[in-house]
Symmetry: C2
Subunit: 331 residues, 2 copies
């Protein structure tokens, strides 16, 4: 008898903005548990903007999803059956076999999560990809330090809201952008010194008003006009950490920049990065971030959708501004 | 009696592409020679693309030219009168009071040039701003090293042709872009392994063919589609030194990029710089470049216009592709 699990599959490659038609919920056979394998039931699924890139048929830092194959993504689950000495029933694990109810794989696919008194879902948020992306991008890629003026786009999102709080914990001045009054108020509540509402008018003008003396660091989640505004506002030797360009993920048109030439006069350093580039430094990140979570310096905010069926809509809402903080699916 | 000299003045600020109407040749009073001052007769004048930026009324790394005031730029001259103990008649000097026949100023404005057996005009080229820009941009900003695949735009220009030769002297593979068959042949003659003729079709496709395995370094003199092609072709951890964006200097339209998102997946580092950022390392540059010039590893090629009257046209020709190698005016 072969067991199955319900899993979201990529039905067709999206052209531009994805729709629910690109996804299909189907039974997926689970391999029989071999020696050294583990079976888990998922409790939390992560949906993240970077997954959009894997839906295109292009080589990138992770291989593309295949049409007809199950989707993948960060997940937290409980071990329900183990043929590995490293895991026992009830262990909480992080793994990448998300978008599905259960998973069976060799033990190496799973990371046992320590009991440090935080909610399991935090391992998909501030202690996981989003918090780590914020931490390494701000402190290592952009080399932000106390006293710097930091601009972060999509500051009400999962990564952005972590950037705001880490920057404040480290003594920086922070300007966050968000869309609409509610999200701007949320960004302020995280400690941001200034907020730019990108739905209220020109971002270039908004940033110039929020940071009249310019910015030292830009943490980019968005690209497009946000990045152009950062070029316009950059001080000498400004550093830009390019984490995402959500404006471009679904766009057929090229992005245009009026102020990119300031790279030369302001000697701007622009650098792209991926969370996993810093895998050797995860222990240091977990320790420092764990301390901030324990002290309340970094708080988490989630937008939670219920049930496996909700996964594609949760993902699509990332591109419609439907989330404040980290978007999660609870099973 | 007050002496005068003939000097080009900025008559009006160009809108977009400058024309000869923006310039006016007028007599300029020369201050009487005070104690500690020096008077020179210019022999060579430099015209450089960066001067276009100073014709706009915007704050940049150098202050803007003023309407009605004389223009400035790199020049080599001979001392004809000295009231400074540091200079004597006949000394060859580099200074920034170009676009004119003669100049009088405090001795600190002049740098005495050592007699190392190179033509005086080299101090405006391979031993001056253009060669130094190539040297520091390639080796320091982009950290190019032996074995790297280097793409350089405007490779038939003054800076670009120095980049090609320095890169070959350092054991790199070099792809240069230039406009038209003659310039491409010149770039090949400098040692470039591959040439992309940007007038012959898509630069993105041309670079993809010239560098099927991608590029490690891009030295940007042009911006625009050249920069986009470099984004498309970048290997993991590619480094871009942004020296100039001549495509943008006279353009009212923003620049657009189809491949800028590859900054993230390829972890591209993009950095702007100015020659004078490395002023403390000029002695090391002069020594290494002097050695290459002496050995013939770096050759100079100039496009020379005769007489002060030709200066604005020489400058305008920089934007019309009118020069191969360094554009100079000989007085």
């Amino acid at each position: 008898m072969t067991a199955t699990t319900r899993a979201w599959h990529l039905k067709s490659r999206p052209q531009g903005m994805p729709t629910s038609d690109n996804f299909e919920l189907k039974d997926l056979p689970l391999d029989d548990l071999q020696d050294g394998w583990v079976r888990v039931e998922n409790k939390w699924l992560s949906v993240d903007p970077y997954m959009r890139g894997r839906m295109n048929d292009v080589k990138s830092y992770v291989p593309p999803f295949q049409v007809g194959a199950p989707l993948e993504g960060g997940a937290v689950g409980k071990v329900v059956e183990s043929r590995s000495p490293d895991f026992k029933d009830g262990d909480t694990v992080f793994h990448m076999l998300g978008w599905r109810e259960g998973a069976a794989a060799p033990a190496a696919a799973f990371n046992k999560l320590p009991a440090i008194g935080v909610g399991d879902e935090q391992w998909l948020g501030n202690l996981g990809l989003t918090g780590g992306t914020a931490y390494f991008g701000l402190l290592r890629v952009a080399e932000a330090k106390a006293g710097d003026v930091v601009f972060v786009s999509a500051a009400a999102g999962a990564v952005g809201s972590a950037v705001v709080q880490i920057a404040k914990a480290k003594g920086m001045t922070v300007i966050g952008s968000a869309g609409g009054a509610d999200k701007c108020e949320f960004v302020r509540s995280l400690g941001a010194d200034q907020v730019v509402d990108y739905k209220a008018g020109s971002i270039v003008k908004g940033l110039a008003q929020a940071a009249p003396d310019g910015i030292d660091v830009y943490f980019d989640n968005v690209g497009g006009e946000h990045l152009d505004a950062a070029f316009a506002a950059a001080r000498q030797n400004a550093r830009f950490a390019i984490c995402g360009m959500i404006d471009a993920y679904n766009a057929a048109e090229p992005q245009s920049f009026r102020y990119i030439m300031r790279i030369i006069s302001a000697r701007i350093a622009v650098k792209g990065f991926i969370y996993t580039d810093f895998i050797r430094d995860f222990p240091a990140f977990h320790q420092e971030m764990g301390g901030w979570i324990a002290s309340g310096a970094v708080k988490s905010r989630e937008t939670v959708r219920d049930g496996l069926e909700a996964t594609p809509d949760a993902f699509l809402d990332l591109f419609r501004g439907g989330n404040t903080g980290k978007m999660l699916v609870k099973l």
